[in-house]
């Protein structure tokens, strides 16, 4: 039983990160119907920027760990958001009227570009966050040791998800985003500045990705330029699993994917866990073609 709970927390920790990246995917997808394949790389850049700022500013020397992380998070969020907006301007906006898949190729191009530019700047070697950045506190839940940072990561994911959801559902800007997601043309006629909405989405989505990158950097320590591709694919899977375009769906999908992987590894085979996760995904989509929480869109004839 302890084994089960241990694996449960393992799965939740991994799933929390997936969920956080999936949120960004889902935001962009919801409004633009674009699979932003460069999203994983923005996540990776977030991790690198965090490390660069940390070492360049030497914050850790005179601030408490939590202040450092908060400060870092703010800076990384802003920088990655700027990058996201630039990405949208350069690579996606010219393709807004084109076929959906044209923008996907552009996104893949951007992904290759980001990976390689990071490799050229930082080198191909693994980069490492300082180990003493976070106090390695372990708390005991029902007698089970759980590193505090894991709880914090999961908490951060949930908080961001809830904040985002509230923002989208309750605020005027959120309403504008939802309107643009349903029908850009109609939204424009209602006086919504769709360009601004899209820019905003490209602020929020990448910023969330960047935050996830920073978390991964701080928690796991080791980062490299190809990590965006792997996490990106997992997060995309998670977003689809939950129903892409749906914010709680991204959260549910992320956590579920993490749990599926953990339990597949724990009770079946570690080597086959990804294959198993994909099998579950396929089965779920066969039964629910638009994901767990995705709306079933009846084709209007």
């Amino acid at each position: 039983m302890e084994f089960f709970f241990q694996q449960l927390t393992n799965g939740l920790a991994v799933g929390g990160i997936y969920a956080l990246i999936a949120l960004g995917y889902t935001m962009v997808y919801g409004v633009l119907k674009l699979i932003n394949f460069a999203h994983g790389d923005l996540f990776m850049i977030g991790a690198y920027l965090g490390l660069t700022l940390l070492t360049a500013l030497g914050l850790a020397d005179y601030l408490s760990p939590f202040c450092v992380i908060a400060l870092l998070a703010v800076m990384v969020l802003i920088l990655v958001a700027i990058l996201g907006v630039v990405l949208e301007r350069v690579a996606y906006r010219p393709l807004r009227q084109a076929h959906r898949l044209s923008a996907v190729v552009s996104a893949l191009g951007a992904s290759i570009f980001f990976q390689n530019i990071v490799m050229l700047i930082y080198g191909a070697k693994f980069q490492v966050y300082p180990h003493d950045l976070m106090p390695r506190t372990v708390v005991h839940i029902f007698g089970m040791p759980v590193p505090l940072i894991r709880i914090l990561i999961l908490l951060a994911s949930v908080v961001m998800m809830v904040a985002l959801y509230t923002f989208i559902q309750r605020t005027k800007v959120g309403t504008a985003i939802r309107a643009a997601a349903i029908d850009q043309g109609a939204a424009r006629l209602m006086g919504i500045n769709v360009d601004r909405v899209i820019a905003l989405v490209f602020v929020i989505g990448p910023a969330l990705g960047g935050a996830a990158g920073l978390m991964v950097g701080i928690y796991y320590g080791q980062i490299n330029f190809t990590m965006g591709w792997i996490y990106g694919l997992k997060a995309f899977t998670a977003a689809i699993l939950g129903g892409i375009g749906n914010i709680p769906g991204a959260m549910v999908g992320g956590l579920m994917l993490g749990l599926i992987e953990a339990f597949a590894a724990a009770y079946l085979s570690v080597a086959w866990k990804d294959a198993f996760a994909f099998c579950v995904l396929i089965l779920i989509l066969i039964v629910r073609p638009t994901g767990l929480l995705g709306e079933r869109v009846a084709e209007k004839v």
Binding site: V14, N116, A124, K125, F126, P145, Q222, I230, V270, A271
Partner: protein
Amino acid sequence: MGKRFITGMAVVFALLLCVQPVMAADTIKIGLMAPLTGAWASEGQDMKQIVDLLAEELNAKGGLLGKKVEIISEDDGGDPKTAALAAQRLSNSGVVAVIGTYGSSVTEASQAIYDEAKIMQIANGSTAIRLSEKGLKNFLRTCPRDDEQGNVAAKTVVGMGFKNIAILHDNTSYAKGLADEAKGLLEKQPVKIVFYDALTPGERDYNTILTKIKAAKPDVVLFTGYYPEAGLLLRQKMEMGWNVPFIGGDATNNPDLVKIAGAKAAEGYYFLSPPVPQDLDTKAAKDFMSAFKKKYNAEPGSVWAVLAGDGFNAVAAAIKGSGSTETAKMVAYLKTQLKDLPGLTGNISFDDKGDRVGDLYRVYRVDASGKFVLQP
């Protein structure tokens, strides 16, 4: 649209023609095939740095046979298909020998091409047994084979008195080969293999696997994969509060291992590896270390990249020793006449199959400050 098609094609062809390599005859060209991009870019770029440095030094001393040495490096992307193209490209660039490459399947994709072009190939990181069992005359390698390391690993584990052993690999050709070798040998010993499975390289969170291994209650874990994962495993193992000893293969012999794991988590980690220049008392090794530090202001990374350097040394010795750049003469010299060439990883000799001779493997332990200490 016809016009557009032809313009497009014309542009492509024009570009193709512009970049044809220009041949020059006054240098001795040596090829380096390395993963300069892709997942193993870090290793490949180290390989290039080291070989470039050695070539520079050699040229400063007057080169070979009165000519300067020129290194022509090609990216194999760490992928067999790209490697086949890189091999064709090198075969056409007039190189007398090729150093490389890293992954076994990548090397394999290039072997036939060099063989047909009659170019000597000295691989540096490809440890799969079969590479030298095919009877290819012009293939050699500076790295030891999986069976040798498997043997050493099994002996070490048994020698340390462990009874319940967990084996973890990462499903790469190299790690799986080593894990299989070790498993096969250990099964004949009075020990029990309590866990055997593979992790997925490139991930960050291995808690799930560690939890599972822990439940199998081993007294030692043999991890045959690479340093990025080894570092994470050590670090997450410590965070779990689990104190089982880890033994790794030579793919974990990289200073970055300690950087990733942290000195505290890495302390007590054992691994097997050919000696790195840092640990050798020979002049060749010491000179190399100081030159490398001077030029790149860093320590060389993995032992594999250093073995590419030894590949270069072997090529240079072959040309000097046989007084020729003919493949047959160079290969014959390396396989029959060369004895104990002082290299960066100890003395170099080759057997008839082109494999490196000698007990290369040493056992290392990471000490409290994160240094790799050669065990007696």
